[in-house]
Symmetry: C2
């Protein structure tokens, strides 16, 4: 890894040929650098050679000289005879960077060196010979490095070191063998877009301060609604900070649609509301109900079949039951792609029930929404077009960097009525442009991070067909895994049949347990297998996959594949690794 | 601006000296590049010259050759005689980048070229000769460029072009003359940290997948609580997606503290709750109350004095009134730094009242919290240490890139009890490390963006003293503006006296209005002045400052200074510009 001291401007090459005082080389470097960096190349050269207008004339006889020098070298020889470096981060602080006077040169050097550290990390992330994680226990990590905040500034050499250290201990979420979460992988165009978003450093509340991003949000949400199947892509929506918040929005808007007075008068003014979702649904439904003053007791969990799909007859039964008690069913949240099993609730049947009982139909497709991009797999979400609202997280199955979660709403204007507060310091009504682009007042948030650009740019770069190819490949890999282990000795599937999403749920049964009868002792021992294998995986740093218990099923592995870097060989590796790490248990 | 076609690998320099087939130059470039890019430099050279092990031996007689070539040139001569470029983005797509086989080389080139575009933007942002904004109306922007999403992928040349176009129309929020929002400026270390955050691309729910970031959140929140004045920095907290959500958290936790049964049973199980905040407070308090099922009618707005500070006697009167009606006061939200006036509510008096009536005291210091870093100004928040919870947005006065908002809570464990749902697929209880670092279940969100690293790294780079210097400087600039305009012809102050924060609120009165009597017609005409000047500012792109009406006061300018790039000259410029653009009105 690059030593922070040997950065952009440290011209101490071993034989001196990189020395700016060596005219031929210096000029050649400049000529190349101009191509290398476009307009910035000129600037770099000009800064280096002290001539802002004529950075590197070809064929000139008198080469420009470096204008200033500071002592620095990374050769480790003391005293060293290397040409002295031009920028020494040990002598520089944040106050020397832009907007400081003369800050341009150290800024470019510093940011370029940060970028070099990041590029190294990116390249390593995809290298199977590197660890997914260099795991340390919390107390070790706290002791190994001083993370404390102090009164006095540190120099930029130390700052670069912190960047390296932070990445050293980070999870390589783009690593081909990282399968731990629904969001895995590191998309290069998405990453570039996220860097740009950081650089633009603005907020989403008004067109005034985010003109392009507001338009891109409009274009992208419309496209997503078209794909859902709403006529002409009409409707509404927003990018929110994650699927849990998107689901909470759905609940909020559904409640407002039925009882708009709740906005002013609160829950005291409305009857007891009941929401329905499956027992395999995401915990955010309960979390949202708790926050919104509805209460977790008012979220009825509907039974699922053995594949984790909501049973429509149980839904209808519970709706009738609630109504008989005088309660008001206001929301059904069906799940398209459950977190653990990857199950798709039967949306058409749910839609029929919602229509019959006049209940808002929400589809939590945070995980499964991506399948809408695939002609082969989108049938699994048939009926989603009948939903009133849909959560769809491109940061999951579509590989967009974190965070990127959309809530789509079929009825336009409802979000605005539900959430607007007309803050006059942001949403002035006498602005000189079309105010319909000031979309911030439909959000629960005031300031809102720009989450759309990475999705938009990836979509331009991949096309819908590129997302489709990615999704089809991940689904195919999941089926590959399923086919290998379904009849393999030492494996038991948690549910039968091919995976519908990329979730493959299974127990690994070590040899010592295979001979045991299927009783409580075996269950108890089996429940300890996955945690130990997982802990070993992390300590070796070779791969990561999730596990959990569910209902009466003890700890099992939940493999999911959203990582575009994963191949058949990585699936093979996972199986070998589980067996290697678990055979003695 | 660099043409995407003339990127990193396009070696077509005018005299051919950058040609990799010209041995001397090529070798020299490599030697320099190794220093330039650290470890990545070797890799770049190796890739370019087809030798992974010996990228650029000094003094070697046989230079390595480029291994492959593609037709590309940016010279615009057809046919051209330039040395052929090595990477032509017009022939490359996202699928050629990592994790593609052989993707490393185009990836490094592409990301470096994106970076060059970003560096150019950064440098321009600080250049006073550039526009703050190249303003276009929404319909113009929609017509000028094709933003639509399509089925087919675009090549990387087009992707680089989109990056340039997006930045061309962006607001330069780091520009020294951008004063439009509470969050302005572009901090170089913060930016670097945000790039790193994007590259790490992880989520905050568990230590397992964000070990360093979880520890840094712990360290940073503890430090912030120490600065608030809670003994030993004890307590709890979280980084949330913005001040509005932080305020909503406070309301949620305050309600839970008083009536924990609300989590399961909802608002139906509790008496009518009342929250109190000043009429100058942020709209998010009402937004939160609407969302949480409390209702906006249950947020009582307390009167303010002429400086925008809450009047404690009115607070007490309204609390007594609510209690007499049988309602339950559960939260007072005092504001430290109101959005428009920058007023600080009298926290000590509010704390006394909250103690007397046993009400949760929240301080919304989203905007004013930064002043706690200044020994000179922190007295304005005296009493904040008596709060039960505090919202503090480092992305405002402390210049941290968006978003970075903290909610700090005095009582430890309350957030966890209030929000936890024990999802077994994330928060397994049989993990091999200390589970107290799995902090995700205290959040409303499930996935949570990493917002801490930019604050932490900036803090290391600036030290507390660096933040202090920044804040003192901004306050001084506000006083400078106040001193210039308070007696200047054509200006009227919205309230008397020195600014307490950096908010300076004033009317500019054009010559034609100065002669009018103070009647309705004058008010009506005055109300149109700020919007017109603002529209002209944006069309010229010279500067941006906000305006709004407030209560019975017609549109006035609200100047705020959080931008570290702003100087006295920029304040002078703002005044000149207002007069230049408004004198004919």
């Amino acid at each position: 890894m690059a030593s922070p001291g040997s950065g952009f401007w440290s011209f101490g090459s071993e034989d001196g040929s990189g020395d700016p005082e060596n005219p031929g080389t210096a000029r050649a470097w400049c000529q190349v650098a101009q191509k290398f960096t476009g307009g910035i190349g000129n600037k770099l050269c000009a800064l280096l050679y002290g001539d802002a207008e004529k950075p590197a004339e070809s064929g000139g006889s008198e080469p420009p000289r470096a204008t200033s020098r500071k002592a620095a070298c990374a050769c480790n020889q003391k005293p060293c005879s290397c040409p002295k470096a031009d920028i020494n981060y040990a002598f520089l602080h944040a106050t020397d960077l832009l907007p400081a006077c003369d800050g341009e040169r150290p800024t470019l050097a510093f940011l370029q060196d940060v970028m070099n550290i990041l590029l190294q990390y990116v390249v390593k992330s995809f290298d199977r010979s590197t660890k997914v994680i260099d795991f340390h226990y919390p107390n070790e990590l706290l002791q190994e490095y001083n993370w404390e905040l102090t009164d006095q500034p540190q120099n930029l050499e130390e700052i670069l070191m912190h960047c390296q250290t932070t990445l050293k201990y980070a999870i390589k979420t783009g690593h081909p063998r990282y399968f731990n979460q629904l969001s895995t992988g590191l998309d290069m165009v998405g990453l570039a877009a996220d860097w740009l978003t950081s650089t633009a450093n603005t907020n989403m509340f008004t067109y005034e301060i985010a003109p392009v991003f507001v338009l891109l949000e409009y274009v992208t949400l419309k496209k997503m609604r078209e794909i859902i199947g709403w006529p002409g892509g009409s409707g509404d929506g927003i990018f929110s900070p994650g699927g849990a918040i998107s689901n909470m929005y759905a609940m909020l808007i559904a409640r407002f649609k039925m009882f708009p007075e709740v906005k002013e008068k609160g829950m005291a003014a409305v009857p007891r509301l009941i929401a329905f979702t499956s027992e395999h649904s995401h915990f955010s439904l309960k979390k949202g109900a708790a926050a919104l003053g509805i209460g977790t007791d008012s979220v009825i969990l509907i039974k699922c079949d053995e594949r984790g799909k909501m049973i429509p007859s149980d839904l209808e039964r519970r709706i009738i039951e609630a109504k008989q008690k005088g309660f008001v069913p206001f929301l059904v949240s069906a799940t398209a792609g459950t977190t653990v099993y990857g199950a798709f609730d039967p949306l058409l049947a749910v839609a029929d029930i919602c229509k019959k009982y006049k209940i808002w139909m929400h589809v939590d497709a945070a995980w499964g929404g991506g399948l809408l991009m695939s002609r082969k797999h989108k049938w699994k979400l048939s009926g989603v077009e009948r939903a009133n609202s849909v959560t769809w997280n491109p940061h999951k199955m579509m590989g967009v960097p974190l965070q990127c979660s959309a809530l789509l709403v079929r009825e336009e204007g409802l979000m605005q009525s539900c959430n607007q507060m007309h803050a006059s310091y942001l949403f002035q009504q006498d602005k000189h442009y079309d105010l319909s682009y000031d979309t911030g007042d439909k959000a629960l948030q005031c300031g809102r991070h720009v989450d759309v650009f990475k999705l938009w740019l990836m979509w331009r770069a991949k096309g819908t067909t590129g997302f489709e190819a990615h999704i089809d490949k991940c689904l195919e890999l999941a089926e590959y895994l399923y086919n290998i282990i379904k009849n393999r000795e030492g494996y038991e599937m948690v549910f039968d049949g091919k995976p519908q999403h990329t979730n493959v749920c299974f127990w690994y049964v070590p040899p010592s347990l295979r001979v045991l009868e299927d009783n409580e002792e075996r269950m108890s021992r089996l429940s300890k297998v996955a945690p130990v294998i997982k802990a070993r995986m992390m300590e070796y740093g070779t791969t990561m996959v999730s596990y959990q218990p569910l209902g009466d099923k003890v700890n099992f592995f939940r493999m999911v594949i959203s990582n575009p870097a994963a191949t058949h060989q990585d699936i093979d590796f996972l199986i070998e690794e589980i067996e290697r790490l678990g055979q003695d248990l």
